[in-house]
Symmetry: C6
Subunit: 267 residues, 6 copies
């Protein structure tokens, strides 16, 4: 059973926080490998450090990884497990089509809101969208980056404690944008890269018989062998969705060919 044991989590004092996180967690978490647990553990440790009155009460963390690797869900889970009484969420949907000045102001306000409480976590999803990053050029909003560089350094008022958690593309993005050192900690979110990991997820879908699963595992194993290979968890769940729509007799081959397609496109 791979379901992650979230039921022990204490609810935050204000229901509103939970709500804002729950939309990122609606489809549940599958512990497809020890990598997942490790990320969640490290997040929890950092949350505890921030709470410790002997420490500096101001830390930041970014989950960086390729598209559809599960960054947002993992970050939301860490926020939720941190059990801080105040959770502030800001995501690019809140600022669609905003000018860079408006985006900068929205971020400033999110930090101010978070700092007003004694113990807060601030979740910023998809940093690259706030800075309007585009690889051609590259183009990006220097104004928003400057704003982030200042906000990520400015401690909350005396006695207040703040943890900032963000998601972003892989580390090279952070380095190129000059944001690498602005975060106290950078964690890489990996894709699934072994047959075992993928079978863990495919098995959860309940659309294949045990026999079919064994066929899939066998084929995946020989395909993966000797290749660098990776599928994001979000990609894999979409492929399974598409396979479910196929006639039963094609479901195994359809899934396998779609996985291969993704692998070949990306490598």
């Amino acid at each position: 059973d791979f379901d992650y044991a979230l039921e022990n989590d204490v609810k935050p004092a204000f229901g509103r926080s939970d709500e804002s996180l729950n939309r990122f967690l609606a489809r549940g978490m599958i512990l497809w490998g020890p990598e997942v647990t490790q990320i969640l553990d490290e997040g929890r440790l950092l949350a505890e450090t921030v709470k410790n009155p002997e420490s500096i009460g101001f830390r930041s963390l970014v989950l960086a990884g390729t598209e559809k690797s599960g960054k947002t869900s993992l970050a939301a889970q860490i926020c939720k497990s941190s059990d801080f009484p105040f959770v502030k969420v800001i995501s690019p949907e809140d600022t669609v089509g905003y000018s860079e000045t408006a985006k900068s102001m929205a971020l400033k306000k999110a930090f101010e809101d978070a700092k007003r409480s004694k113990l807060s976590v601030l979740f910023i999803d998809d940093l690259e969208r706030f800075i309007d990053y585009h690889p051609v050029g590259p183009r990006f909003s220097n104004l928003v980056i400057q704003t982030l560089l200042v906000l990520l350094k400015a401690p909350p008022p005396h006695g207040h404690r703040l943890l900032v958690i963000a998601t972003s593309p892989e580390g090279s993005f952070l380095r190129d944008m000059g944001l690498m050192r602005a975060f106290g900690r950078v964690i890489d979110v990996p894709r699934l890269s072994t047959a075992d990991q993928m079978i863990n997820v495919i098995g959860e879908s309940n659309i294949y018989t045990e026999d079919q699963l064994q066929t899939i595992e066998h084929k995946l194993r020989s395909f993966v062998e000797g290749r660098t290979f990776g599928v994001g968890i979000k990609d894999l769940l979409e492929l399974i969705d598409s396979a479910r729509q196929c006639e039963p007799e094609y479901r195994v081959s359809a899934l396998l060919s779609m996985i291969e397609n993704i692998a070949l496109n990306l490598f």
Copy 2:
């Protein structure tokens, strides 16, 4: 008989949707090869996946191909066949001369409109015009791209289901603009590249005798031989129009020489 059997399609609940699509379908579809059916089939499968309550109710598809290859008509046909109760169309004509901010807002509004219904398809024609793409530079509106990147990731409200279908230039455009992975699925729309395919279309025009058609087929076959060659369906229909205007005795040679011109210009 190559006429595509659309008469079985159920009309959507609101006539207005039909209307907005019909202007793209006024001149009918010719099934010039299995490529056409395959694209329409894949579109229908994706529409069904979105409808399936076990799946993620939010998917996107882009038809990418060279100019005048029939992208718009094929996309409109998929939208129509999907038989979704709500169809929202946004095309560059709606935003001629708009600033990038206004274009961004128009797209945002189109997504919002589509998300308001329980089951919608949103059709965006000619993505490259919304992002003001120009190959010199290249120039493009990063603001509109950022808007698209956010909107194409932001799921509809709980219980609502949305399929997004767009058209764009060939895949390299999508890759260069950083939009490739923003769509769940990219389908290439091919040009006609064999004598058979072209004869299928030319035959439909009723301006040539059977003898003339055989001459044309023979000449095309020897011309195409050993070349990479391609004519968009929209181009071919225009050439036939011009040939119709010529004196009867020149119609065969006029058409052939115009087809050769296009082939030589482009390769």
Copy 3:
């Protein structure tokens, strides 16, 4: 006698159209070679295609050529001969010093005006000035290009028919600006490049005796020999004007030396 037989042309229903074209045609046309007739013929054929109810009632044509080669006059002549009841003219003089937004709006309005009539021709002179083209960079208004790309693809309302005729610099300009495929047809307007062609024009001026003309022809023939050479009709008419001002004894040599200057400057 090289005067072009325009007297048979039927006047359009609204005198105003004629007027707007006449200012481009005030100095008359000289049929200096078959190239001229051919361009006018091709224009007339396209106009007929647009009128044919079996065809797509929306076509576009651009006359492309070096400076002062007679593009504007030829395009105006095609418009006039098309005998469409509505002629809309838009030229850069109408938008001197406008912002790119204002230029874009002026073009949009010109298309709208033209589409309001059942059968219209829209004449756009000097495309390069609307897009503020400058070879250093190159600089150009992407906004206006985007506007043109949309307008040249957007068909008139059902039952209305529209022919668009434009002038522009040589084809490489159109290709570089990404406008080449936006027009259904591109015709190159050549310069005069043989002694015969030039004598046809010089003879019309009535400032040289038959003997002088023979001297000029002889000298031109030996000069042109073995060179790629070209003089625009508008240039040549200006040179003749300057020669007329000289003392009679210098008129032959003055004209010849000016023609040589132009040829040497340009090649």
Copy 4:
């Protein structure tokens, strides 16, 4: 006697015109060589062509040359000698610190003013300042260039006649800015490059004795020998001014060393 015979010139109908030109002509003209007469003659011929009713009544001319070579004075002299009843002058002083839009509008207005009269000459001094030209980049106002390109092609109303005369840096400037072909005629204004030419000017100053002039001539002759060398007339007059300020015994050597400095700086 090198004083240019201007006294025969007929005054224009409106004194105002004369006035606006006179400020450019206050210090008189020295005919330091046949180059000067030739330029003035060519200007006069063009003015006559414009007046001739058989010709196109719209021509343009630009005097191009290095700094301080006398362009403005020569152009003003041509305008004055043309004896047109209306003279419109526009110079960069009129538009100091204007935005490019305001500069563009000022030029448009100048052309409109000039076209309102039946027979006008329009004088535009220092084209490079209207287009805000700077060699680093290069930077320039494309808006103003576009405006010039349109205005220089747009003929005056039927029956009106217009001659445009402008000054600019050397020809390479015009070519790089895409303005070369916008003028019907380009004349190069040379610098003084021989000892004779310079002595013609120095002699006019009345600060040297005949003996001193001979010494200067001798020294200049040996200095110029075998070098490409050039001094603008405006530069030379300034050097003579400075020499006048020196003690009498240093005046010869001071002038010579200043001339050498300029020559060495520039070559």
Copy 5:
């Protein structure tokens, strides 16, 4: 005992100044090596020079160093020890998201405020944020740089005395931005680079036994050997915070591995 003897410092006349500095000094200073004392001494000497009525009463100093090396605290300490009656502080938090014009005005106002008193020190933290510096391009606000270049040269009114102290990234930043010579004096703030220096800091934390400290020292010594290595004081204090959170048995190894990580990342 490494605590820095600040208790002898005379309080400035206006408590407000103290307050604004204290937030930078809340966590105390550890004299981890003679480098620290030397920087503080040099700062004090400059402050005395400014006070001396025989000297120019206007000097400036910038502390330049890598991230988290302690620049801000050292600069604040110099300001405090200078014992000037007026201390003006301006930091990037005061201008988050400001336009470059607004940032320029804020700096101008800070200088004006400081110049109003007879004897002032002006502290500008993180110069790079005022000029919106980003290494890609590089991008920066030339307007703010121009403002700084003028303000850093404009002496206070007669009889008034002003010391300006700023912090910035390493010297190459100052040189690239053209600010190097704008400051009278540039002092480099080093990172900790020997085991001794680090043990001085780790010992202060009171979380390790003497035995553990000896183990750490031993391991660090062998690790540092033969490498160029550096850890900022602010980094080191954060690592110690994180180690404190670990189970006692892992605290030594956790700290060591984190120090190694930083060293390997940065070199």
Copy 6:
């Protein structure tokens, strides 16, 4: 005795002018070498030329040199010695943080003010700050350069006389910015480069005994030997200020080591 004999200077008619110059001259001039006298002499000669009614009453001069070489003081001294009844001063402090349009207008107004009087000198300090020059790019305000290029060519009204004196970085700056030829005369302001020159200045400070001065001279002589070396007068005076603050026994070595530092930094 190196004090410059300014006491004979006639005061200008309006005390205000004196005042505006005096702030640049508060700390006196030291004639550290013949270079200084020569610059002042050349300035005075130019002022006399402008006054001479036989000459063109409009000339300009720029003092160009490295940072802190004494440009501003020398220029101010020339203005003062010129003894013109009206002196207009414009310095970057007057336009801190202005937009380029506002800077352009400020310069225009300064010229207008100066031209209103019959005999004026206009002093523009630090040209590079008005044009917002930054070496990266380079960046600069083309608008302000265009304004300067026009203003420096536009003569005062008939009968009025104007001398313009400006300061700027070294000549390469003027050349790169296209301003070199805009000034009638460019004078280079050198740094001190010999031991004698430096001793002249150090001796004036009254902080060293004769013995100490001899030691310094000896050491400088051997240091300078065989090197290209230079210290600006303003730099040197600052170093002497700092040395004064040291304990007596270190004053000689402190000064020498600071001079060496500057020499090594810059070469």
